[in-house]
Symmetry: C2
Subunit: 510 residues, 2 copies
């Protein structure tokens, strides 16, 4: 490296060091600090052989996290609950690659497209990480010329969003999606999606919730009736979508100042988007002088009425609310949209505290009838409706609910312990027998472990039984079977060991 | 767009069109053709508003695939078998992000580093997709200052390798890893890894297999004894690793011509790397005049002897073979290495046919005692040993074994059918009852489905029971319970429906 270049980097290191120093002094956000420290170390690394050992920051990428075994135990528990519900409704599962051709994702996400992760161009195809599971699903349906399918897909998606990890918002996060594709009758698949959201949130036991419902036809018709130019529908829609996070005044400002909507037009929208209710609201809007003239609105209201009827038959009417402020940001929705929100901090309070009320959002979805057609050469459509469970937020809530330290992370049933030295070979033989009998078994990886250490391991890890052997047990052809919780031991003939363990496990679990 | 620029692109389109035409004429590899077609369409898209509708290629990225529901059913079956084995051995599970800081992966994979997928630099950190689960595991252990853990991790990894999809080699593929980290006694964790490979391959029922064993200390000591300069150990090791795919002559050529090894030194290595056997081979090598002078070799042979003893106690001695040709390409191994290979086409035959014998490889792993230390600021090490199941190859074999069309992809137990029109609301009520009773239930999404169509659906999808209702059943307060296979129907009081269904399902499953 030329000396002048070295000097330049050293200058940069000095400046970056100052940034880090200030951040630390200000007790800034930890993520921010480690990001800047990473830049500093990267600069230092450029100097290479400058005498100091090359260091690096030990962290996961911004907005991502590892799950430790206790977190995994909770996560798998929640996922199994969700999966069981999907399968109870007759769904099958598919899987798609984590990245897609970039052009597959282009033009599907509106303003959110900037959040897509691209892969480096290393020769060959241009790829991006999937942003959701819906677009890959539509690509799959079109590519395989499928006319109907009911599938779930549980996998990670990627968004270069501003992470808020304490509130469960990450850049890499799981989605649990359920979708019904096919030419079916009005609201029948849609109502089942709402039912599924209700079933899942109830069985996860994470608190009271409400499923907000709206309809893109009602929104679009309302925009038209309020005088929004058609080319502004989607951008005004995405402004309305922010109503769960910000006050109407801010949304109005975005509409007027940023998106160039006429002020009185925005005010008209404001009178509608703050309405919510049930069947009564539908009737009220049907009588509304302005809206009743719009065909799209009337059609949407009729469909919403049918949806509420089906929700009633599915026993979830008390869980839903027709809410005109619900817009959902994505471009591809064409019909019913919904979003489940946990009831907790009232929205107004959270907004006043500068918190995102969206934290309460734990599921969402809707109808997207034209997405598959975007992937078909002849534009053939397969109507779809689906729901996505915001599982990361569910985890955050569940993690806060349980005692992480008391969560068992293994299934081990039996521990093979030895009372004297030189019994490692006997232990291996016993373990082999137990594994071959499909008993979940562990032992020490030390040749000469202390008995106390072995028994302590059992108690600390919640292992119910221990098989203990010593010289005398081997001579007598027996093993000691120890109940770890009661610390009671009894002698069991070696050839009856498996049988006796099965019996005792059965008793313990009953 | 300026006219000159347009003309330039049109030139490129012409040239690219010619490439595609020639490939099609030559009936080239399909993947290659669609790759070039994609480039052509991307060029055409640049012209934008040139009158034609923008088209795109409908495909998954090169080297990746979707899994359809039947494939998923097989896949989940295999994964559950593997997971059950890991848990039988007392393992817990963790999860790490799909991408890591690029520097985390740097310097871990030797010559294979060129296969790492990088993410585009979109501002912020420089990231790469994980290449395996081992390096992220080591990063996790170091970052969380863990002194011992036994964990499994089942997830996708990414390698920009030349795909051979018919043989189950993909760019995106699952790995099922089990690792034991901690300061333990010699060969105890290592032998358990070998035992686990044997258990898994036996329970997957994909054919006979052999687990090849070797030791990096034996390899390195042998290289030293044969006069390989120390700085060439890793590159010569990676040449030896190719012995399962190519003949010795080619490997020798790589050593001499590409890697600059002295010819007689290569010949000496050749006499050793073609040896394989059991305890006898260990004794033979201990007597070998050249090798017996090397401390590293002798230490490795002693450890190998102990490993074989433990394999004997674990009942898997007949499944293992001490094989000096086994080298494994990765830099980070420091002790025992192993690889499970399906016995099928003899290696020599496959090589002569130009096939990769590596197709037979279905699991591999080894000891890596220094990897965690590479992530610790003070270089503190946590010794590790692990195994990775090559699950994609397992799938390929299983897919070829089963009748994909006969594979059931849903769990649905009951179908609610109606005999007349206008019963949609009754069906919804029944479904609601059944779902609430945790019975896996489906119905038609048509308002007025034909009875025949509904019953046909049950037969085609292997649904065992149908609940059939008509006007008269509703009047009488009953439902008809139909056994789909026998087509026998019986009347059941509506209030006893759930009970009767449970009973009949129990009978059917016994």
């Amino acid at each position: 490296m030329a000396d002048c270049e070295k000097a330049k980097i050293q200058e940069q290191i000095k400046a970056q060091g100052e940034i880090v120093r200030l951040l630390k002094k200000d007790k800034a956000d930890k993520d921010k600090i480690s990001e800047e420290v990473a830049k500093l170390l990267a600069l230092k690394a450029q100097l290479g052989d400058n005498g100091t050992k090359q260091k690096f920051v030990l962290k996961t990428p911004k907005g991502t996290r590892d799950y430790n075994p206790a977190q995994m135990a909770i996560r798998e528990d929640a996922m199994n609950t969700i999966k069981a519900c999907f399968r109870r409704h007759g769904a099958e599962t598919i899987e798609t690659p984590v990245f897609e051709l970039k052009e597959t994702l282009t033009g599907k996400y509106g303003e959110d497209s900037k959040l897509i992760y691209d892969l480096a161009d290393q020769g060959g195809e241009i790829l991006s990480l999937r942003y959701d599971l819906t677009v890959p699903f539509a690509r799959y349906v079109a590519m395989n010329k499928i006319s109907n399918i009911k599938r779930y897909h549980i996998a990670k998606v990627y968004r270069r969003d501003n992470p808020a990890m304490t509130r469960g918002r990450y850049r890499e996060f799981y989605q649990c999606d359920f979708d019904i594709a096919g030419q079916y009758d009005c609201m029948l698949p849609d109502a089942e999606c709402v039912k599924i959201v209700a079933e899942i949130l109830e069985s996860l036991k994470i608190g009271n919730f409400v499923i907000k419902l709206n309809h893109r036809k009602i929104l679009d018709g309302m925009f038209a009736a309020c005088g929004v130019p058609e080319d502004k529908f989607r951008s005004i829609c995405s402004a309305v979508d922010k109503l769960d996070k910000t006050f109407w005044d801010d949304v109005r400002m975005e509409m007027v100042d940023e998106k160039g909507l006429a002020p009185d037009c925005a005010d008209l929208i404001g009178t509608y988007v703050r309405l919510s209710g049930g069947k009564d609201l539908i009737e009220q809007l049907k009588q509304d002088e302005r809206l009743s003239k719009n065909k799209l609105v009337m059609q949407g209201l009729d469909e919403m009425k049918l949806l509420l009827r089906y929700c009633d038959l599915y026993g979830v009417l008390d869980k839903v609310s027709f809410d005109l402020s619900l817009a959902r940001g994505l471009d591809y929705y064409t019909g019913v949209i919904y979003e489940a929100v946990l009831k907790g901090t009232p929205a107004s309070e959270a907004k006043a505290n500068g918190e995102s009320v969206g934290v309460g959002s734990v599921a969402g979805g809707g109808r997207y009838d034209n997405l598959v057609g975007m992937f078909d050469a002849k534009g053939r459509n397969v109507p779809c409706v689906g729901v996505s469970i915001g599982i990361e937020r569910v985890f955050s809530i569940m993690e806060a609910q349980v005692n992480m330290k008391a969560t068992r992370t293994t299934d081990t049933q039996v521990y093979v312990a030895s009372a004297q030295k030189n019994l490692v070979e006997e232990r291996l033989k016993l373990c082999n027998e137990l594994w071959n009998a499909d008993l979940k078994t562990e032992q020490s990886y030390k040749e000469k472990p202390k008995l106390l250490v072995q028994l302590q391991y059992c108690e600390e890890h919640g292992i119910p039984l221990a098989v203990v052997i010593g010289e005398s047990e081997i001579e007598k052809g027996i093993v000691k079977l120890r109940n770890v919780a009661t610390r009671k031991e009894r002698e069991v003939p070696r050839e009856k060991m498996i049988e006796e363990i099965r019996l005792e496990l059965q008793q313990l679990s009953s």
